[in-house]
């Protein structure tokens, strides 16, 4: 087992500014974003792969794609 650090990209919503129109939900290929109680959009970090479709679609441009450092175990081949 080898511990490696790899940077992943995830979508982040500026929730205070969200108008909860649902445009992001419609374009997400993984169903990783939801409108919570009609108030704001929320990203499921486990599903999000940071493709950026939602960020491009968001009419208020309040979704950004940011790199997150994630530690995970990677099995070495061989």
């Amino acid at each position: 087992m080898d511990k490696t650090k790899r940077k992943k990209r995830k979508a982040f919503v500026e929730q205070d500014m969200c108008v909860s129109c649902g445009s992001c939900v419609k374009v997400c290929p993984l169903g990783a974003i939801q409108i919570v109680k009609g108030i704001m959009a929320q990203v499921d970090m486990n599903k999000c792969v940071g493709c950026g479709k939602c960020a491009k679609e968001c009419p208020a441009s309040i979704i950004s794609i940011e790199e997150v450092e994630e530690e995970y175990n990677e099995k070495k081949l061989v």
Binding site: S20, C21, I35, G38, A60
Partner: protein, 191 residues
């Protein structure tokens, strides 16, 4: 992605706008766009209307997206600020009540029916070709002209911001969207 029946509601929105050119009384149907989102937000406490059923949002999404009529630039910061969104909602409300007031005048017989559609609260367009009389009181027609004016005005505004900014820019400052979000916020506060 699989399409649902409600992904085609843009056809209904487009048809609504076209029908207003033939008979203004169809404008009454637009009340559905007012009551359905309100009822969904009050009863279910979510923005299901915006998220799924809003034909206008879909229409802008289609024209700006697939038809490429949008520059797809970021909306200016002040347009997504709270004061602008709530300010626009209040302004829209005032203009709406003024329209109801004018309708009341016609119902009361204090004013005559005006066969005009007022665009952007300013420009009065003659619209007499779409009026063929009514079985009811002229006030019924006056409301239709007034309500169609509201719908046309928001379409024109939404179209402009669609071209200038992202396709669904209208959604950012849509008074119905702001109002339903406010209802959801109040309703879900306790939980």
């Amino acid at each position: 992605m699989k399409k649902n029946w409600y992904d085609y509601l843009w056809i209904v929105s487009l048809t609504y706008l076209i029908l207003g050119f033939f008979n203004i009384l169809f404008a009454w149907l637009g009340l559905l766009c007012f009551f359905i989102p309100l009822l969904i937000s009050i009863i279910k406490g979510n923005k299901g209307y915006c998220n799924r059923y809003c034909g206008r949002g879909q229409l802008f999404g289609l024209l700006g997206g697939r038809f490429g009529l949008s520059r797809k630039k970021d909306i200016p910061h002040w347009m997504k600020s709270k004061w602008f969104r709530y300010g626009f909602l209040i302004f829209f409300f005032i203009m709406f009540f003024q329209m109801l007031w004018n309708t009341y005048f016609v119902f009361a017989g204090a004013d005559n029916l005006k066969q005009t559609v007022t665009l952007l609260w300013t420009f009065k367009l003659p619209w007499n070709w779409a009026y063929h009389g009514t079985f009811f009181h002229p006030g019924v027609a006056q409301f239709a002209f007034g309500f169609y004016s509201v719908m046309m005005t928001s379409t024109v505004l939404g179209f402009f911001t669609m071209v200038l900014f992202k396709p669904r820019s209208w959604c950012v400052y849509c008074p119905m969207g702001t109002m339903t979000q406010l209802i959801c916020k109040v309703r879900n506060r306790k939980e």
